[in-house]
């Protein structure tokens, strides 16, 4: 059995670990709430934008949308892998990395053999991993999480859109954790480019309102499609951000529980060792007294 001192040291160490995990859990809970608020805030914008686009796209040819709807044969692939800058979030980051790896090995095997699959990493965890993997790393945008605003996201989306329009890529796919709740996140793969114009399910609604269009339907669609793409990337980043904090909160909550269990076991062990030491001491004293008597 471990000595009294050893057990005492372990108790102290587990105790301080528990305090850290508990604090991290609390911090994540606060950040999660803020991240969720951000998602709620952007929802009306996204749904309105989509509604207007649906209204228009029924009457506008897809080819007029600035080249973003043109479907080319899928030869050059860009995967946008969204992870976090920090770890200790359970399987949050490894899920994304595993998914992207599998996609490269299976779905895009042909393109990968031709060296035409690139990974754009958002988040340090993905860029650390794919940087070491030869031939796939494109660039990273880890700094975005320091200041996650729409404008910063729009700049990244614009860059990707320019590259697509220039023909550098034929498909752009977003891979990120979709937020369900604090405990559940889904790894989601979403087509970013080429876009499929949203089709209104309710045909009558679009026709019933006799809108004036300024400057013109096609121009409006051309203006709105880049906006909707930026919104899509922003939404993915916000979702991933909320998922990160949710995953970390859950992971830290579990770690705190585990530390508590470990502490209980260690305390029992400590008390047993202490009792054994006392018993031993009494036995020695009694033995000594007996010897003196004799």
């Amino acid at each position: 059995m471990a000595s009294l001192k050893e057990v005492r040291l372990r108790i102290a160490s587990v105790n301080s670990t528990q305090q850290i995990t508990k604090a991290m859990k609390m911090v994540s809970a606060a950040k999660l709430r803020r991240a969720q608020d951000a998602i709620v805030q952007m929802r009306p914008f996204a749904s309105k934008l989509r509604e207007i686009l649906e209204n228009l796209s029924s009457s506008v040819d897809a080819s007029e949308s600035g080249g973003f709807a043109v479907v080319r044969p899928a030869e050059k692939i860009l995967i946008v892998a969204i992870t976090s800058n920090r770890g200790l979030a359970g399987a949050f980051n490894s899920n994304i990395i595993r998914y992207v790896n599998r996609a490269i090995a299976a779905e895009y095997k042909q393109q990968h053999q031709n060296g035409n699959v690139k990974v754009l990493c958002i988040g340090k965890k993905a860029s650390d991993f794919f940087n070491k993997k030869p031939g796939v790393f494109l660039r990273h945008h880890n700094e975005i999480f320091n200041n996650l605003t729409f404008d910063n996201t729009a700049a990244i989306a614009q860059q990707i859109m320019n590259e697509y329009a220039a023909g550098n890529y034929d498909r752009v796919v977003l891979v990120y954790n979709r937020f369900k709740n604090a405990a559940v996140q889904y790894v989601t793969s979403e087509a970013f480019l080429p876009i499929t114009p949203p089709v209104s399910t309710d045909k009558k609604k679009g026709a019933a309102n006799d809108y004036i269009f300024e400057p013109g339907k096609a121009e409006i669609v051309q203006d709105l499609i880049p906006r909707s793409l930026k919104t899509q990337l922003y939404k993915a980043l916000l979702d991933s951000n909320a998922s990160e904090h949710g995953a970390r909160m859950t992971a830290m909550s579990k770690a705190t529980d585990n530390a508590g269990e470990l502490l209980r076991d260690l305390r029992l062990q400590y008390n047993k060792a202490r009792q054994a030491a006392i018993t031993n001491e009494i036995l020695e004293i009694v033995g000594g007294a007996e010897a003196l008597k004799g």
Binding site: Q41, T149, Y211, E219, R227
Partner: protein
């Protein structure tokens, strides 16, 4: 009329307004009560809102405006 100015990050304005002036792609225009339905893109500029409490203005970086049934929605961003 009811006016909403929404950016992806937050709601900038929501409520009753007497008139709103927006920087349309074809030039500034003003939307008053019972304006005909219109969808227009906006360029970078200032959105001016007249409310009962006075005039408010918001800087936008382009966007789109929709007017329908006396409800004006400005998407800024």
């Amino acid at each position: 009329m009811i006016l909403e100015i929404i950016s992806p990050e937050k709601k900038l304005f929501s409520g009753e307004a007497g008139s709103v002036t927006v920087p349309g792609s074809n030039g500034l225009f003003q939307v008053l009560n019972n304006h005909a339905p219109i969808i227009s893109t906006l360029k970078k500029g200032t959105v001016k809102v007249e409310t009962a409490e006075g005039e408010k203005s918001f800087e936008i970086n382009g966007g789109v405006v929709e007017v329908l049934n006396n409800k004006v929605i400005v998407l800024a961003g």
